[in-house]
């Protein structure tokens, strides 16, 4: 009777711990990587928006209109600063010189 019981006992405590460690290691690294990817995606998207805003400002000046100072797009605040040559757009994830 002892042998069959041994046979169906499941994994040992040591194996469980090793598995848990490995799993949490994988989980943490994947989680961090996903976080990094999400951050990169947000940055890329905001940069794209900033480029569009900067281009708009340049075109406004080309047409003789004044620069805007603040542009709000999907609840993000882009602050615009125009100099003679350049347009600087500051957004939550960084800033853009054009």
């Amino acid at each position: 009777m002892i042998l069959p019981l041994n046979h169906y006992r499941g994994m040992s405590l040591l194996t469980l711990l090793i598995s848990l460690t490995l799993f949490s290691g994988i989980f943490i690294s994947v989680n961090q990587w996903t976080g990094y990817q999400r951050k990169t995606a947000v940055e890329t998207y905001q940069r794209y928006q900033a480029i569009q805003i900067a281009e708009n400002q340049k075109q406004r000046r080309f047409l003789g209109l004044p620069c805007e100072t603040v542009v709000v797009q999907n609840r993000l605040r882009f602050s615009v600063q125009c100099t003679d040559e350049h347009v600087i757009v500051r957004y939550p994830a960084g800033e853009l010189h054009l």
């Binding site: 046979h7 006992r9 499941g10 994994m11 040992s12 194996t15 090793i18 598995s19 490995l22 799993f23 994988i26 994947v30 990587w33 996903t34 990817q37 990169t40 995606a41 890329t44 940069r47 794209y48 480029i51 900067a54 281009e55 340049k58 075109q59 080309f62 853009l96 054009l98």
Partner: protein, 226 residues
């Protein structure tokens, strides 16, 4: 003991499978992100170049057409605005149209009554101040264009004259000499026996090209290559 170890190996295999699937998925995701990031960078470069060229073409479009040399037979020319340092060959263009005094180049020496067929009356005002005064005769062999208006129907020739003579109405040529080039009139042409008219192709071609100017074609600016 062997079976127990084997069960641990199962969990391990599952974990390895899970993590490799995740890895593949994440690497794919990373690749997509990178491509979007580079698209954004390319967009930024394009926008910067485009704005630069836009300002360049606005500054130069007023004078660009006037700088084209006249010594060609083309009637339209495309002007390209570009910067040599732009590696993406981003360019802007405008078209220049040639406004000429002559509708067509005279093909023979005497063109009696051909005034309306040969001359663009609407572009006359552009060239009127370039015409030679008809009473002064040059001594050199360069080509000249002489314009005689409706009231002046008589003209005295002296020596060789290189050029085109255009009379709005009738024309009588007196004096002594040879006209090398062409004569165009709105009315009848008569000459004294001492005056002869010889067609000279080089003079005609030169003057037809000279009495034209390049003008910017309306709404012809474009920033793409059709």
């Amino acid at each position: 003991m062997i079976r127990l170890r084997y069960r641990g190996m199962m969990t391990l295999t599952l974990l390895v499978l899970l993590s490799s699937m995740l890895l593949i998925f994440m690497l794919f995701d990373d690749d997509v992100l990178r491509s979007y990031s580079s698209l954004t960078s390319q967009r930024q470069i394009y926008v910067a170049h485009n704005i630069d060229l836009q300002q360049l073409s606005r500054r130069q479009k007023a004078t660009a057409c006037a700088e084209i040399p006249l010594d060609s037979a083309a009637t339209v020319t495309r002007i390209t605005f570009e910067r040599p340092q732009f590696a993406d060959s981003n360019r802007h263009y405008i078209w220049c149209r040639r406004q000429a005094l002559f509708k067509q180049s005279p093909k023979k020496g005497i063109n009696e009554g051909q005034f309306n067929r040969m001359i663009h009356a609407e572009s006359l005002s552009l060239f009127r101040d370039k015409f030679e005064p008809p009473d002064k005769l040059p001594q050199d062999k360069s080509d000249h264009l002489y314009w005689l208006n409706k009231t002046k129907t008589e003209w005295t020739v002296e020596g060789d004259i290189y050029g085109i003579i255009i009379a709005e109405g009738d024309l009588h040529l007196s004096g002594k000499g040879i006209i090398r080039g062409a004569v165009i009139s709105g009315g009848a042409i008569s000459t004294d026996e001492t005056v002869s008219i010889v067609y000279r192709k080089a003079t005609v071609t030169n003057l037809v090209q000279l009495y034209s100017q390049w003008q910017r074609a309306e709404k012809s600016w474009h920033d793409f290559t059709p």
